[in-house]
């Protein structure tokens, strides 16, 4: 097995490396944003970490540099990262993580609801389709409130 290492030299190794899923339908810049958020949630990234340099990401994924810049700008806009001139982009904020206790309560509610949906005759795909369509309603309500 071969292991690609992003950068040699322990001091400068980037804590995370991005990967792309071209079939996901999610725009490339958004995939990068989501992976940073996910890494923050899971503790792979903490405040003070340097994100991979634009040139490194570009060389690794063969993507347009503007895409990486757009993702990093979005992270700055969200208050999760900040650019330091000549040094790179660094993690600043943390994500508001929902406390574990609340997550468990929400999860119990969801499992109960899924039981009811199964009883009503929905299979897993049916449930997923219903959830996706409910998400769309939620987003539209949000968008309507904003405008």
């Amino acid at each position: 097995m071969e292991i690609d290492k992003a950068i040699e030299g322990a001091a400068d190794v980037s804590p995370i490396e991005f990967r792309l899923d071209p079939g996901s339908g999610v725009p490339t810049y958004l995939q990068i944003v989501q992976q940073v958020e996910q890494a923050l949630r899971l503790g792979y990234l903490v405040a003070g970490d340097r994100l991979p340099k634009v040139r490194e990401v570009v060389a690794c994924l063969a993507i347009n540099p503007n895409t990486v810049l757009k993702a990093y700008r979005e992270l700055e806009h969200k208050g999760l990262a900040a650019g330091r001139p000549g040094q790179g982009t660094f993690i600043e904020g943390t994500l508001d993580v929902v406390p574990l206790k609340d997550q468990q309560a929400l999860r119990r509610g969801l499992v109960r609801w899924m039981g009811e949906a199964t009883k009503a005759g929905l299979d897993e795909e049916g449930i997923a389709a219903l959830v996706a369509s409910a998400f769309q309603d939620l987003r539209q309500t949000k968008a309507a409130k904003v405008s």
């Binding site: 071209p22 339908g25 490339t28 570009v58 063969a62 347009n64 503007n66």
Partner: protein, 304 residues
């Protein structure tokens, strides 16, 4: 700054027009994909831009108003032709030496460092390198001239997936570090989305799309709904292409504002491949940046 600007440009070979009435303004600092079916005029347009051929009609300028083929244009533009032609019996080192004697601007250490990093032996004959390595040699030669604009004709068509990825990452790294503008032709649609930020679609010698990819994605939606309502809904919108089935239909729609979807219809984003295919299947539709773009300001009238 515009890297390539044309006005009613036309090129005729014998009785056939390879390019007709082509009006374009390709902005600088971009990675531009020039796409279209075989015979659409891609190679002709690129050859006109680098000064390898002269136009029959109309005008073309490069790098902000310079005539193609003039000394200034030749210095500012590097061109990698289709199938990356190189002298097969020269070694890599001799190839670099040859080019260095032919051009004004040459950064030899740059080229050798790039090839060294890729593990390409300088003493090897070019013909004994793999296809991917030969393409990398051609790219290194082009980049060592520090061009403002790099033009590539079908650079990755013949390469295997790994070589294609390596070639594109070298190219994108050069864009990131040197800020060069790139125009490349391709007919591989699936890989464009991650590489290019501006798209020009030629079909049958005419320009069908010339727009930033972000704008293209933001202004195209797919509406899916019952086929019997299709005509009514389509009437109020600027429909690029319709795929109609027995009961439902998919409308690829160009819109500048937020669509409020009629009841019973689904509205979703499109992707670059679907947009391009939609335009190719509807040769009369066009999406050109700037004023005069088709919009659907009356979209809400029907079901509001």
């Amino acid at each position: 700054m515009n890297t390539i600007e044309t006005h009613r440009l036309g090129k005729r070979y014998g009785r056939n027009w390879a390019l007709r009435d082509c009006t374009l303004a390709i902005p600088g600092g971009r990675v531009v994909a020039l796409i279209g079916p075989n015979g659409a005029g891609k190679t002709t347009l690129l050859q006109l831009a680098v000064g390898l051929t002269a136009s029959t009609r109309g005008e073309i300028t490069v790098l902000d108003g310079i005539a193609p083929g003039s000394p200034e244009a030749l210095n500012g533009i590097a061109f990698v032709a289709q199938d990356t032609p190189l002298y097969k019996y020269l070694s890599v080192a001799d190839t670099l030496h040859l080019v260095s004697s032919l051009v004004d601007t040459w950064d030899g250490p740059h080229a050798r460092a790039r090839l060294g990093a890729l593990g390409i032996p300088l003493d090897r004959k070019v013909g004994r390198l793999s296809g991917g390595q030969q393409a990398q040699v051609a790219l290194a030669v082009a980049l060592a001239r520090h061009p403002r604009l790099l033009v590539l004709d079908e650079p990755v068509a013949e390469l295997d997936p790994l070589a294609r990825h390596d070639f594109m990452s070298t190219l994108m790294e050069a864009v990131a570090t040197d800020g060069i503008s790139v125009v490349f032709s391709s007919h591989v649609l699936s890989e464009l989305e991650r590489v290019c930020d501006y798209l020009v679609l030629l079909s049958r010698g005419r320009v069908q799309i010339a727009e930033a990819t972000d704008d293209l994605m933001a202004t195209h939606r797919v509406l899916t709904g019952p086929v019997e309502q299709s005509d009514g809904v389509a009437q109020a919108l600027s429909v690029v292409h319709e795929r109609r089935a027995g009961r439902h239909t998919h409308l690829l729609v160009r819109t500048s504002n937020h669509l409020s979807v009629p009841p019973g219809w689904q509205d979703g984003p499109s992707n670059l491949e679907e947009i391009v295919l939609g335009y190719l299947r509807s040769p009369e539709a066009s999406a050109l940046a700037g004023p005069g773009s088709p919009t659907s300001d009356t979209a809400q009238a029907v079901w509001a």
